[in-house]
């Protein structure tokens, strides 16, 4: 029997979307969602679940869509994952649930991400509330005597908050910035993840009784020893937020940005709405983005929407780019150029300290390195100049030492990431950690998976 094709989601056309910050993927309507849901084979042994870092009952929520019971479907989703509208949008499903779907063998996996998003958006639009009925009153009352501090309100922290909040623990979640969500609000652009979606899912957590405290740099506003004294357990999910710079000559020039700064200005501070919003950004006519990951794609597509002609410079070939294929495709569709096998070696400025050009060098692929990818090496004498008003380095991030510098007893590895056991427990028994500050830069859903394990670890610790 021939397998029916995937139902593709509606998208804003490239010509239109490159001029706005509205969401690119428009998702399914109800009919499309039902049609797609019907393609699910409802496997006896569902491989998709094993591909999901938070173990959602995927066939279950899809089955309820077929049965036209969207409320039931939403309940299943929310009981495994408090952030379904976010995950449906930003998870790399192709290497997780959809990659593990049996239909991916014939190239037509179920579009699980789009279905998850559809159900979550439906619930939000219809104001469907998730009733927290999983746990008995007795358990909730018993747990409510214990207090847990969560430091950092990104995906890992939010997941710990939901898992422990559902069970009745008293949760205070501390955020140094003025909005909650971590990378969800400062990193991922509006056109991939509207901020209203993040706000809504955080609002659900507040209804669960989680106490959100913004503008509080823990370690500075509250000394670490006070946190350790005041709480029964602590979760550290501060991310790997410190940008790396290539450190080539001219890095101090105006117009040289880290992707973190560029995206934080655009996303958290809404610089794309300057002067309605006060935070400025400068992009000029020609922007160059260095790197090949998802952050590079986000930065490039943001710069494009701010009116620049954008080129991505990547030192390997497109096949080695770590970004999701769909994001590379979207970027190209919008008119972003990709220059592979090249890397900047010097930034050139004018007398006012403004970037005007980038000196690059050609690369070729040599022997494989420790990551298994062929190592790019310089082609001597191949230097060339490209004009640029802006360059955005998206070459990765490293451990954020902001909190850790105030927390010397917490053991870290040679890269500065926190050492934990499989349940996120650190060298200080009541302190748990998870997300990028443990693994190094990864994905939203992996941080959420880590949050889920840490929540289990914290529960066990508090019960013992």
């Amino acid at each position: 029997m021939a397998v029916r094709d995937r139902i593709e989601v509606l998208e804003q056309p490239a010509e239109q979307r490159k001029n706005n910050f509205n969401e690119v993927a428009l998702g399914y309507n109800y009919d499309m969602a039902k049609e797609e849901a019907k393609r699910c084979l409802q496997c006896k042994v569902p491989t998709c679940i094993s591909g999901c870092p938070v173990g959602i009952d995927i066939p279950g929520f899809i089955r309820e869509i077929v049965k036209e019971n969207l409320e039931g479907s939403f309940k299943i989703l929310k009981s495994y994952n408090y952030l379904p509208a976010i995950c449906g949008r930003v998870c790399p499903q192709e290497v997780q649930c959809e990659g593990a779907c049996v239909l991916s063998k014939v190239g037509k996996p179920i579009n699980i991400g789009a279905l998850e998003r559809f159900v979550a958006d439906w619930a939000s639009e219809n104001n469907v509330q998730f009733e927290n009925t999983e746990y008995s009153k007795e358990i909730i009352i018993k747990n409510n005597k214990k207090r847990v501090a969560i430091i950092g309100s990104g995906p890992a922290g939010l997941t710990v908050a939901s898992e422990l909040g559902k069970r009745g623990y008293q949760i205070d979640i501390y955020e140094a910035l003025h909005e909650f969500g971590g990378v969800l609000v400062y990193g991922i652009p509006e056109f991939r993840l509207p901020k209203s979606i993040v706000k809504k899912e955080i609002f659900d957590l507040e209804k669960l009784g989680v106490n959100f405290l913004k503008n509080i740099p823990v370690g500075y506003a509250i000394p670490v020893h006070e946190i350790l004294e005041d709480y029964d357990a602590v979760f550290v999910g501060v991310g790997a937020g410190t940008p790396k710079f290539m450190g080539i000559p001219g890095s101090e020039l105006n117009g040289v940005y880290s992707a973190n700064e560029f995206l934080t200005r655009v996303n958290l501070m809404r610089a794309y709405k300057f002067p309605e919003y006060d935070t400025p950004i400068r992009v000029g006519k020609k922007a160059v983005v260095v790197g090949g990951g998802n952050t590079a794609m986000d930065a490039a597509r943001s710069a494009l929407r701010l009116g620049a002609d954008v080129t991505i410079v990547y030192r390997r070939t497109e096949a080695e780019m770590p970004a999701r294929k769909a994001e590379i495709h979207h970027a190209k569709e919008e008119g972003i150029k990709i220059l592979t096998l090249a890397t900047p070696v010097k930034y050139v400025g004018d007398e006012n300290g403004n970037l005007i050009a980038i000196e690059c060098v050609r690369m070729e692929l040599g022997e494989p390195d420790e990551s298994g990818r062929r190592r790019p090496v310089f082609v001597n004498g191949s230097n060339f100049i490209i004009e640029a008003d802006t360059v955005i380095e998206a070459i990765g991030t490293e451990a954020n030492k902001f909190l850790l510098s105030q927390f010397p007893d917490l053991k870290t590895n040679k890269y500065g990431y926190i050492i934990t056991n499989e349940y996120g427990q650190t060298s200080i028994p009541k302190v748990f950690a998870g997300g990028d500050i443990v693994t190094g830069s990864a994905t939203v859903i992996l941080a959420m998976g880590a949050g889920k394990s840490a929540a289990q670890g914290i529960q066990k610790f508090l019960e013992d």
């Binding site: 509080i216 509250i222 101090e252 105006n254 300290g353």
Partner: protein, 288 residues
Amino acid sequence: MFEHSDTINKIISKRKLSKGIHELWIFNPFVSRHTKPGQFVIIKVSEKGERIPLTIAETNGDNFRIVVKAVGKSTYELCSLKQGDILFDVAGPLGKPSEVKFYGNVLVIGGGVGIAVIYTIAKALKEVGNKLTIIIGARTIDDLIMKDEFEFADRVIKATDDGSSGQKGTVIDFMEEELRNSKYDIIWAVGPAIMMKLASEAADKHNLPIWVSLNSIMIDGTGMCGGCRTLIKNEKDGEIKYVCVDGPEFDGRYVDWDSFMKRLNQYREQEKIALERYLDQIGDISWL
């Protein structure tokens, strides 16, 4: 932990110190209880505002004091607020505290609103037993803020460009005179970038360490964006440091002032647009 009260970030009192320079006391226990000299806060005045770093001038219980000079849209807006108004967001304290300890003979220099920054640092330096000479300066005696608040120091020199304080000259003129005539162990200098640059050059001639407090453009203030990065020259070549987490104080002899000052002008065009737009909205600025 503290109870969040509805008055967090409320302006408890406000006073004009000189034309365009205003002092605000703000209620915020999170900031105030643990602030050490030299640290700063990030303030977002309104919902659509930008995040601006301001060094904390003093704390008292749950309140902290800042002194603001109106130079752009956000600082004009901040100066226009009244007692009882509530700031949208205040985060802090941030940054490394000043290296306060006993050095011996210390020279502390403040220019413009930098005078407010050196105030707590100087006070702390005095408390640990240092002999303290203060030089504060402005164009005229009327522009000289906090001029009567440094009585705790061993000597105070009030430099004015027009001599209206009785001491005519720039803070740099008086600093050079001091370095020629007395022996100092360390210097602090906070003020406009050009003043700190000149002070650093003077200190370098006498081989003296000099702490300056850099006022880079910042966003998060937690080491996350790298926007405040500054080139610090060491013996070999140079090293990029983040003002928000590695600073805000550095030895001014090693700061690459040229690129630092150019980076301060990064958004000059946009700043002009934002300020003009704001001034059009508010009209009368005679209160400033």
